[in-house]
């Protein structure tokens, strides 16, 4: 059986483009003010999956959990090389913390049936928790390798990977299936393929099809919208251009484990730490002054 790579992806606010109104008064991210992008390290995970497919064959399924607008990053996944894309979207999944998110994702991965390697970015640039990948592996009951930079070998039953351990790397071997979290240093994600883009720019979710019909004809009855949507979806399906939409019912599982109900995390307080320069110190021009300074910085834990 060909390899099945499952790649997890998240749409995140582009925190690199922080402007004046990027934060709300309560210290949380103002998502509306920032463009939504494909989480950068998730692109590294997708790139690794694509290179694995190029080398060892197989197919790539990309899953994202998010609001209907997250379909955009699934199209981007298609432009780069995904074979199948699934949008896990449901109001009942709103306000999930890492526990509830990883539960939903693990149920979705289970629902897909067999998978050999689950890949995701090390962490997302909005939350920076780096927890969803590892927690998903735990719930699936499979091994996890974090900080992966490369998969150097792959066979039907095992893999060899290189992981970054901060001051060097280690080579790990293990059995499949496995979940890998991939770092930015792993690769340089490819750009969209022109041909795939021209094809998949037309890929749509059910939600998007319905919304387009309603926008075009606000007076349409639910019945006629449904009918027209079905025709369009069927036509798109013939051309492989439907982005599957899954919800809580599709993946099953206990309701209390999803969304807010399944999220024990509570934000107690958010502190906005602003680093400002307050004083300066002149270093005298004599031997030893520099080493004194270094010693002082060490003592203050500024360097070390």
């Amino acid at each position: 059986m060909p390899y099945h790579y499952v790649v997890l992806a998240k749409q995140v606010p582009d925190t690199k483009r922080v402007t004046g109104n990027a934060m709300k008064e309560d210290g949380t991210v103002n998502r509306a003010a920032l463009p939504a992008i494909y989480n950068p390290e998730d692109l590294n995970a997708l790139e690794l999956a694509i290179t694995l497919k190029e080398t060892y064959g197989g197919r790539i399924t990309v899953i994202t959990m998010g609001p209907p607008a997250a379909a955009e990053i699934l199209r981007e996944a298609y432009y780069r090389g995904a074979d199948r894309c699934i949008l896990l979207t449901d109001r009942r999944l709103a306000a999930s913390d890492t526990l509830a998110t990883s539960f939903a994702l693990s149920e979705a991965i289970r629902k897909l049936g067999h998978s050999d390697i689950v890949l995701c970015g090390r962490q997302a640039i909005d939350g920076d928790t780096a927890q969803v990948g590892p927690q998903t592996a735990e719930k699936l009951g499979i091994d996890q390798i974090s900080y992966v930079e490369a998969v150097t070998d792959l066979s039907k039953s095992s893999f060899t990977a290189r992981r970054n351990i901060g001051n060097g790397f280690e080579i790990v071997e293990g059995p499949l299936p496995v979940l890998l979290t991939v770092t930015a240093s792993a690769n340089e994600p490819r750009y969209a393929s022109a041909k795939r883009l021209m094809k998949y720019k037309k890929a749509r979710t059910q939600f998007e099809v319905v919304k387009a019909i309603k926008d075009r004809n606000p007076a349409a009855t639910d019945e006629s919208v449904k009918l027209e949507a079905k025709t369009i979806i069927d036509e798109l399906a013939c051309r492989g251009l439907v982005i599957e939409e899954w919800n809580v019912d599709t993946i099953g599982g206990k309701a209390e484990r999803f969304g807010l109900a399944g999220s024990p995390t509570q934000v107690v307080n958010i502190e906005s730490v602003v680093l400002v320069g307050r004083e300066y110190k002149q270093v005298k021009e004599h031997e030893g002054a520099l080493s004194e300074l270094v010693e002082e910085l060490k003592k203050e834990y500024i360097i070390g």
Binding site: Y191, A192, A194, K195, L197, M198, K199, K201, R239
Partner: protein, 582 residues
Amino acid sequence: MANFFKDNPDIVFNFETMDLAEIARWQEDNFADKGKFDYAPQDEKDAIDNYRRVLEIVGEIAAEYIAPRGEAVDIEGNTLKDCRVTYNKAVKENLAQLSRSDLMGFTLPRRFEGLNMPNLVYTMAVEIVSRADASLMNLFGLQGIAETINAFASEEIKAKYLPPFSRGEVTGAMALTEPDAGSDLQKVQLKAFQDDKGEWRLRGVKRFITNGCGEILLVLARSEENEQGGLGLSLFLCERSKHVIVRHLENKLGIHGSPTCELQFNDAPCLLIGERRRGLITYVMALMNGARIGIAGQSLGIAQAAFEKAREYAHSREQFGVSINRLPAVSELLSEMCVSIEAARALTYETSRVVDILIGMMRKSESAAGDKEAALSFAKDAKQLSRLASLLTPMSKYYSSEMCNQVASSALQVLGGSGYMKDYPVERYFRDARITNIYEGTSQLQVVAAIKGVTSGVAEKRYLELEAGLSKLSKDFDWMEPMLACLKETRRILAEAVNFAKSKAGGYLDLYARDIVDIAIDIFIGYFFLKQATRSERKLSIAKRFISKMIVRSKMKRDLILSGEESSIQAFDEIVGTGVTS
């Protein structure tokens, strides 16, 4: 994310205001591919959306991937060892990235796995890539080689050789120049002969071959032993093999990422493209025309890169208590750079547009072979348009490459001492710029190609059409009539100059051909700017500036021509001498 398409308002302006729907109609031939290829557009709107999105990919790769590698490519260059060229690592990576994004079969038909993009969009892409790394254009911009194969080779050759081009598995070279045949290609001596089995083989040397190390070479060779002129030459496709040796890699002033090779053909097997004896007069001419527009695009890209750096520097550099861009001497330099880039862009894009329609018409006339009348009518229209294309193509190449040199030089000037140092990329742009008005036909040769159309009335005919189109809009724009009057006056000045030069014998017209072509180009650009001005206030300012300056320039050139000054012909030996000491 940085993007050299999206961050360039003038390319975007051209993209949005040019009639791309018309181009799409010619290019897509009733959208016949839509059921056959999943990436083919359904209609005009879809096609234009594809054009934009593909340019966005090119813009992103150029800004984020290629540009940061430009300096290393320039410093390290490529290497030659044991008669084999190895691309610089960054050059290899750049090509791999472009191939992965399907951009190496940009204009080839879909049945050969290409994107079937029009020339206009390709020219924009060439410009965008060149802004990131001028030398990479010599690989990305060599797609005309595959196109020549597509236009003239047999179906069998096309099916075998074109898909690997589209996939980026092979690159090509056009091997025309020889030690004794540069501008004068009729002197080509490399011999093509048939061996015992009747297979064609090549023997001889080619020099200054851009990407001569490529896998597929299009070689101009003398197949007719007894025919000395251009009619003795045919075009051959030669695969890289042990029979083709790269015996030298040139050490150049600029474009270091582009390997310039000297090739030796040792009875190398090859295939004839099209018919014998048409190599130079038909195929190479077509190839060169495409390549010339490519160089115009490359020139635009280098100029844009240089201008961006100069503008940025002049904004942040303070002297005498102000940003230097507020000093008139500097603001004039920057304004002139900006306007001349946009002028060259308008001319080059219009040329590409005309070529797209021309190719579309020729395709129609071929496919309408069953309907004789329709075929003839398309062929007739195509002939008209091809005269215009033959005028605009050398004009674009000449104007853009000279502009590029001027802009790169001015950019360096704006940076002053810093510009001369290797700390800034401007000195690289300056070096890279210098080839643009030399290769694919020097500026002097472009003038020779363009002067015919100016003196024979092709230009005037087009001016009248452009004038008529704009006159219709004059009721909506009160500035239109006086502007059109200025252009009409310049046309009169041009006619005066042409008539006088024609009346004089002894090479007088050749002597002043460049000045005459300059006036003729200015008039074209004047019309293009006026058309743009109907869509943008800023462009109106540009049009006014350009037209008021061009009238003065044109008068000066005319007065010079009418003066009869020809000492460089009459008194050459006296003034210059031969420089040969006996």
